[in-house]
Each structure stands twice: as structure tokens, then as C-alpha cells.
Symmetry: C2
Subunit: 112 residues, 2 copies
């Protein structure tokens, strides 16, 4: 139970940075090396590496080194876990029609 929560924390934390989200997006279209991933960013390589480490610690990505090139790729599971958590919350509040209803009414009032 506890470890699941910690894992979720790390995943959400990893997702909380635009650079890291961009890296995930990039990896969505296939594996890539450190320098390929770093290229779009105006940042010193060691700084960028830290972001990759955060991603790897969260297990959103994994990497393997072949020769002098380290290749990163996505690991789907943690992203799924995060999505599930959010989805569960959504289901919970959607059940409560009250709140949603009030919310929509307020939106209407704001638009008028």
C-alpha cells in the first residue's frame, strides 16, 4: 500500500516538469539516445541528465547502455497507474451528482 503511494508520488512528481513531459512525448515515438533527447533543450547536459534520472527513478523510462551510447525508452506501467488513480478519483466525484450539478450551474451563471 505504502510503496504504491510512493511510486505514484514519484510518477506525478516526474510529470510535473515541462522538460520531462517533453522527453516522454519524444520517447512516445520511439527509443532515443541521451543526446537526441537533449538536443531540443537549451540546457547544459548535466542539468538535462538530472531530468532523465528523475524519469528513470520514477520508472517512467528505462535505459540501457551500448558502447558509449545510452538509449532510453518508455515504460508504460507507471503512466497507466497514474491515469488509473486520476480516473478513480474522477469516478468518485462523478457519482456525486450534487457537486457536478452545482459546478455546471455555476459555470452557466458565469457565462451569462
Amino acid at each position: 500500500m505504502k510503496s504504491r503511494s510512493q511510486a505514484l508520488s514519484k510518477v506525478f512528481y516526474a510529470l510535473s516538469d515541462p522538460t520531462r513531459r517533453a522527453v516522454l512525448k519524444h520517447l512516445g515515438s520511439g527509443p532515443a539516445s541521451v543526446s537526441e533527447l537533449a538536443q531540443p533543450f537549451d540546457m547544459a547536459l548535466p542539468s538535462f541528465l538530472q531530468h532523465l534520472q528523475v524519469l528513470e527513478i520514477s520508472k517512467l523510462v528505462r535505459s540501457k547502455k551500448a558502447g558509449r551510447i545510452r538509449t532510453y525508452q518508455l515504460t508504460p506501467d507507471p503512466l497507466l497507474a497514474a491515469e488509473s488513480w486520476i480516473s478513480a478519483q474522477r469516478t468518485s466525484w462523478e457519482k456525486r451528482l450534487n457537486q457536478l450539478d452545482n459546478y455546471l450551474k455555476e459555470m452557466k451563471e458565469k457565462k451569462l
Copy 2:
């Protein structure tokens, strides 16, 4: 574009803490006051308040004060935005994996 990204960052950041996720869970079953929300946690009130502020800044919740009681409630939109972002990523790599799958199947067929 940029503001959307910043908003997402704040939402994911807010979600990266177990206390804050627990608060959201609590609010999923209805609005609640500061002290109701704080009660399960072994934490000084000012520390807990900071978490509520993080949640409010991320717009995952909003609050109104009536008399001396401040009541919090969920705001669904940011959670939906976060879920959408993840979902979009998932779709992206799922497509790719399908393509890879097709490719592998073709290879198999060629071998036959």
C-alpha cells in the same frame, strides 16, 4: 500553449504528495472544512494549510469562507486535463506498439 503547460505542471506537482492526494480523495465525497480535512493527518495545522494552498493554486480545489469556517471543494477541470495529457501519451505509444506489432507480424510472414 505555455500557460497550459504551466497549469499542467502545477497540477501534477500538487498530485505528487500523498497528503494532497488524500485530501482530494476526501473531497471526492463532498466539500469539507479545513479542520475536517486536517483531522486524519498528524501534522501541525499551518503545515497542512500549505498543502491546501498548493491544491488551490493548482486549481484542483477552491474554497470559500463563511464565518470562521473555510470550506473546500473539488474543481474537476484540472484533473481532467491531467488525465487527458496522460491519455494522449498512452495513445501515442500504443499506436507505435501496434505498428511495431504489425511489423513483427510481417517479418514472421516473410519467413514463412
